[in-house]
Symmetry: C2
Subunit: 215 residues, 2 copies
Amino acid sequence: MSTSEEKKFSGAYHHGDLRVALVAAATELVTCCGPAAVSLREVARLVGVSHNAPYRHFPTRQALLAAVAACGFEMLSQEMRDAALVVDPEAHLLEIARGYIAFALRHRGVYQLMFSDEIRKSDHPELRAVAEQAFGRLQQHVEMLNPALDPGMAAVTVWGLLHGIAHLILDNQLKPDSENDPLHTGLVGAATRILVAGLVNVQAGVGNGVQPNCG
Amino acid sequence: MSTSEEKKFSGAYHHGDLRVALVAAATELVTCCGPAAVSLREVARLVGVSHNAPYRHFPTRQALLAAVAACGFEMLSQEMRDAALVVDPEAHLLEIARGYIAFALRHRGVYQLMFSDEIRKSDHPELRAVAEQAFGRLQQHVEMLNPALDPGMAAVTVWGLLHGIAHLILDNQLKPDSENDPLHTGLVGAATRILVAGLVNVQAGVGNGVQPNCG
DNA sequence: CGATCAAGTTGGCACTGTCAACATAAGACG
DNA sequence: CGTCTTATGTTGACAGTGCCAACTTGATCG
């Protein structure tokens, strides 16, 4: 933030790198106060430009938020690559689950944004691309657990569980076990164990191929 | 809606039943256009009163939306009672899952509202009550599947999966299998089968009691 | 140098949630 | 019956929003 938030670094009329400064400021705002609290005017204020300057770089508020979300998907994708070190498949998935939830907690508002229907992926192809990449990684991991299953179905199931738990936590729908377990590792562990047991033991049924990410 | 939406049914200055008319209109708006599209002024307009009349019945926009959400929880609770007829535990949970997703799809915006963090359950105790009631029903059902498991953990896991899938569908994160399977029965079936297999086969581990619904 | 054009600015519009002040109708009480 | 109170609606205002249009600035290139 300290690099470009102060615009007058060279007394310039033109900011120099307003686009990235806007995304950075917006990300910060989203992270601390949630997507709803982000207004273009506030972001502009933070960066130190006039209320209409952002429109030279983003045609709409949604577009700016989409850029923030895309940034989030890249981070998530990275996070899941980092979790790829563990070898035991079960421990592997547990590691992924922990990482996923930790990511959602650490980036709160950004995570909410990434899966918000306010940001239609159909309107932002680049967003869709990074999102599919992240999902692909997850699917790879799940596939190793039980190759007999329809990979798409299985992956969406895992994703659904993680996404659901993340949402429940972020939306404050769970009693504040937060005191002694702020990352909800207990819940995540139990849920993952149940899911893994299911993935391994379920008899492979018919699967008609669900795919993610349209918008 | 036709009962009280037209205020001048008797040329009255006082509406007679403005509160329920507002909730009804808001519910309609939320259902068709999503929570974000609901403005107090628009609701007032629909009902045919001045833009400030709602403030005589709801101290804030959030309060009106909370009333809509509470109404939704009651419907969901009802829905889950209706699903209690099936006897085979597995088929039972499948029935519940189908019902849950169907509810989310049928009531779209209301469902999003029910679990939105915009509406803090701590601010609306009556909301919290009906929400906990609905969760209690789910927990009862899950408990029958494997009494050895921590009931809270297991129920939150089931809930998490259903909630996650619902969110993915409602937020348009899944490719439009919608054409040939608008209710996503294929996905819901597969996911539920995996989950049931897990619930039945997992060895009961330690559980430190997660509970839902705080805000 | 002069023209062009991207990048920022000022001003305005319609809309929002919410507050304050006022108006009206209905019901309580004499 | 008349008056007083109170719940309920209304009008008007304020600060905030996203976005459009018109203007200004400064860098870049012939």
